[in-house]
C-alpha cells in the first residue's frame, strides 16, 4: 500500500474532526514556534553582541584586578577585593610598552549621586584621560571630551553619557550647566552619542578628568596603602598579531611589580576582546539552550496530547479497524496507517509552528526590539523534532490499533 494512500486516509480522518485536530496540534504549534523564535532571537542577540564588541576594537586589552576572596568562606558572605591595580602600574606599563602599544589609559570608576537642580540620580563616575575617547571610539553629540589640559589643571569638568544627559536635562542643552557630584561642582562640557543599549548600560555614565577625580572627588577610597588605585587599564595594541606578545609582556611586568612568585596565581586579569566575546557567546549560548529546552518541554506536552487523542481515535474507530482487517489489511498496514496519521498531525503542527515562530522572530526584528536571525538549522531542527515527536507518541496508539483482534473489533459497539 502506497504512502500517498495512507496520507489520504490520514488527512480524511483529520478533516473529519477539524476542531479536534486543530486543538491537538496546538501544543506542537506553540512548542515549535517557541523553539524557532527563541533560537532566532538568541542567534540575533549573539550576532549583535559580537558586532558591538568588535566595533569596540579587536586590538584592545583590558587589565583588571583579578583575585577576589570570600570574606566569610563558604557562607556566601560576599567578597572583598584583595588585589589592586595601581596608578603606578599604569605609569610603568606606559613607559615600558611605548613601542608596541598605540594607547594606554587608566580608568577609575565609582558610583556617586549626581545632582542638577532638583534632579538627582546615581550613576558611575569615571575618571579618564583624553585618549579614552579614541580607545572606546566615542562620538560626541555635543561639546567636547576631556582633554589633557583638563587633567593637567585638574579642571572640574564633566562629560555626560547620553542616558544621564537625557534623564537630567531632557530637552535642555547641558553644555555649560553646573552639576554636583557628591557635592563637588562640575561644569558640563560635552555629551556623548548613544552607544546603544544591550550590553550593560554604556550610556549611563559621567566622565571626569582622572586627575581631578583623585584630587577632588574620589578621596581615600581610591588609594590603598597610600597608592592610587585604578579599576582597569585599557591597552590599545598597534596590530592584532602583537596581542599575545604584549599580553605576555604585561603579565611579566605586573608580576614583578606586584612581587608575585612564579608559583603564585595572578592577581590581575588580561582580557582581550576575543576573550570577552567568547565569554559572552558562551553565556548567550547557554541561555539559548536553556530557553530552547523549556520550549522543548512544551513540545513534549504537545506530543502527549497527540498520543492521547490518537488513543481516543483508535477506540472510536475500532469498527473501522475491524473492517479494514476483514477486507485484508495486515497488522503492519494498520500500524503504518495510524503512525502516518500521528506523524501528519505533528508535522502539520510543526510546519504551522515554524511559520508562526518565523513570524514572531520577524516581528521582533521589524519592531526593532531585537534583531533576530532565522537560521535554517533552527527550522530543520524544529521540523525533525516534530517528526520525532509524532513517531514516538504515535507508535503506541498505532500498535494498539494494529493488535486489535479483527473479530472483536468488528463486534465492538
Amino acid at each position: 500500500m502506497l504512502f500517498s494512500e495512507n496520507l489520504k486516509i490520514a488527512l480524511r480522518a483529520l478533516r473529519a474532526n477539524k476542531m479536534r485536530s486543530m486543538l491537538t496540534i496546538l501544543g506542537i504549534v506553540i512548542g515549535v514556534a517557541t523553539v524557532v523564535a527563541l533560537l532566532s532571537i538568541g542567534e540575533g542577540a549573539t550576532a549583535s553582541i559580537t558586532d558591538q564588541i568588535q566595533s569596540g576594537g579587536s586590538n584592545l586589552l583590558t587589565i583588571s584586578p583579578g583575585r577576589q576572596e570570600a570574606r566569610f568562606p563558604g557562607a556566601g558572605g560576599g567578597y572583598r577585593q584583595t588585589s589592586y591595580l595601581y596608578y603606578s602600574d599604569y605609569q610603568l606599563l606606559k613607559s615600558a610598552l611605548a613601542e608596541s602599544v598605540s594607547e594606554i589609559v587608566p580608568v577609575y570608576q565609582s558610583a556617586y549621586t549626581v545632582k542638577f537642580g532638583d534632579e538627582s540620580l546615581n550613576t558611575n563616575v569615571t575618571g579618564v584621560l583624553e585618549a579614552h575617547k579614541e580607545i572606546r571610539s566615542f562620538e560626541m553629540s555635543d561639546g567636547r571630551f576631556i582633554n589633557d589640559g583638563d587633567n593637567k589643571s585638574q579642571a572640574l569638568v564633566a562629560v555626560l553619557g547620553n542616558t544621564v544627559a537625557q534623564d537630567m536635562f531632557g530637552s535642555l542643552s547641558p553644555i555649560g550647566k553646573t552639576i554636583a557630584i557628591n557635592g563637588v561642582r562640575f561644569e558640563v562640557i560635552g555629551v556623548l552619542e548613544s552607544k546603544g543599549a544591550s550590553l550593560g548600560s554604556p550610556d549611563d555614565v559621567v566622565f571626569i578628568p582622572i586627575e581631578t577625580g583623585y584630587n577632588k572627588l574620589f578621596g581615600e577610597t581610591a588609594t590603598y596603602n597610600g597608592k592610587k588605585t585604578v579599576n582597569s587599564i585599557l591597552v590599545s595594541v598597534m596590530d592584532t598579531e602583537g596581542m599575545d606578545t604584549v599580553s605576555a609582556q604585561i603579565e611579566f611586568m605586573l608580576r614583578r611589580s606586584h612581587e608575585l612568585k612564579t608559583s603564585d596565581a595572578l592577581d590581575f586579569n588580561i582580557m582581550s576582546q576575543a576573550d570577552t566575546l567568547e565569554t559572552l557567546n558562551s553565556v548567550t549560548q547557554t541561555l539559548t539552550i536553556f530557553l530552547g529546552a523549556i520550549a522543548g518541554i512544551s513540545l513534549l506536552v504537545g506530543g502527549i496530547g497527540i498520543m492521547n487523542i490518537m488513543l481516543v481515535s483508535v477506540t472510536e474507530r475500532t469498527k473501522e479497524i475491524g473492517l479494514r482487517k476483514a477486507v485484508g489489511a495486515t497488522k503492519n498496514q494498520i500500524l503504518t496507517q495510524f503512525l502516518i496519521e500521528t506523524v501528519t498531525l505533528s508535522l502539520l503542527g510543526g510546519i504551522i509552528g515554524i511559520l508562526l515562530g518565523v513570524g514572531i522572530a520577524y516581528f521582533f526584528t521589524v519592531t526593532g526590539l531585537i534583531s533576530s536571525v532565522i537560521t535554517a538549522d533552527s527550522i530543520l531542527m524544529a521540523f525533525f523534532f516534530a517528526l520525532a515527536i509524532g513517531m514516538f507518541f504515535g507508535i503506541y496508539p498505532a500498535l494498539r490499533a494494529a493488535s486489535l483482534h479483527p473479530m472483536v473489533a468488528l463486534r465492538y459497539e
Binding site: M1, E5, K325, K331, P406
Partner: protein
C-alpha cells in the same frame, strides 16, 4: 471449497472456559448457497469467524481451497481474507465520508492493485449490484439497501471464493431485505458464486439450497433445502 473437521473453539472468560464450538464437521462445495442457522449463543458467529479466517479454531482442521488455515499466522490470515473471502455485515460497515467507489476499492488497495485497475474493477462490481450510477455518493447519501449493495460490491470486488454474509438483512426493512436476498440468489445462480448466509432468520435461510443448523456449538442438522424461496417473494409469516 471448504472442508471443516472437528472444529472446536474455546474462549477463556475469566476463570471459566466457554466452548463456543464443540466439534463441527462439514464440507461446502464451490457454487453452493448455504445458510448457517442457529439461535444466539449457538456458536454461529464463532463458526463464521473461523470460516471467514478472522480467527483460527482451538482444535480441528479447516481447509479453504486446499489451504490449511488452522495453523496460519495473522498476516497470512489477512492475506487469505483479502483474496478469498468477501464479507457482508449486518451494519454494512462502510467507511464514512468515503465514496461508494472508494469503499469498494478498499480490499484491492490492501491487495496491492494499481490505482487504475482498482477503479475499473470497483466500477464493475458496483454495476453488478446495480449501483453503477452511485459511484461518488458517500454512505450517508445512500439508502440502507443501497449501502448494503455497496457492501456486497466491496465483498465481490476481489472475486472471492466465498461470499460470507452475516445477517445481511438484519438492519433493513423487509422489502429491502427481500431485494438484497434477490441479489444474493442472482449472484449465486448467474455467477456461480459460493454464498454462505449466517442468520437466525428462517425466512432468510430458506433462500439457500442447504441449511446447516447449529446448537450449543454442534451441528444438529445439515439438510438440502428442496424448495428454496424464489427470489423476490415477499416475506410471509409461517
Amino acid at each position: 471449497m471448504i472442508q471443516a473437521q472437528d472444529l472446536t473453539k474455546v474462549y477463556q472468560m475469566g476463570d471459566s472456559e466457554v466452548h463456543a464450538l464443540n466439534g463441527a464437521s462439514f464440507t461446502i462445495d464451490e457454487g453452493e448457497m448455504v445458510a448457517i442457522m442457529g439461535p444466539s449463543g449457538s456458536g454461529k458467529s464463532t463458526l463464521m469467524s473461523i470460516i471467514g479466517c478472522l480467527d483460527v479454531p482451538t482444535s480441528g482442521k479447516y481447509e479453504l481451497d486446499g489451504l490449511a488455515v488452522e495453523n496460519m499466522g495473522e498476516s497470512q490470515l489477512a492475506e487469505i481474507r483479502g483474496r478469498k473471502i468477501g464479507f457482508v455485515f449486518q451494519q454494512f460497515n462502510l467507511l464514512a465520508r468515503t465514496s461508494a467507489l472508494e469503499n469498494v476499492m478498499l480490499p484491492l488497495t490492501y491487495a496491492g492493485f494499481s490505482g487504475k485497475e482498482r477503479e475499473e474493477r470497483a466500477r464493475k462490481a458496483l454495476e453488478r449490484v446495480g449501483l453503477g450510477d452511485r459511484t461518488h455518493h458517500a454512505p450517508n447519501e445512500l439508502s440502507g439497501g443501497q449501502q448494503q449493495r455497496v457492501a456486497i460490491a466491496r465483498a465481490l470486488v476481489n472475486e472471492p471464493s466465498i461470499l460470507l454474509a452475516d445477517e445481511p438483512t438484519g438492519a433493513l426493512d423487509s422489502k429491502t431485505g427481500v431485494e438484497i436476498m434477490e441479489l444474493f440468489q442472482s449472484l449465486h445462480k448467474d455467477g456461480g458464486q459460493t454464498v454462505i448466509l449466517v442468520t437466525h432468520d428462517t425466512f432468510v435461510a430458506r433462500h439457500a439450497n442447504r441449511i446447516i443448523r447449529l446448537s450449543d456449538g454442534k451441528i444438529v442438522s445439515d439438510e438440502i433445502n428442496q424448495n428454496p424461496i424464489k427470489a423476490g417473494t415477499p416475506r410471509t409469516e409461517e
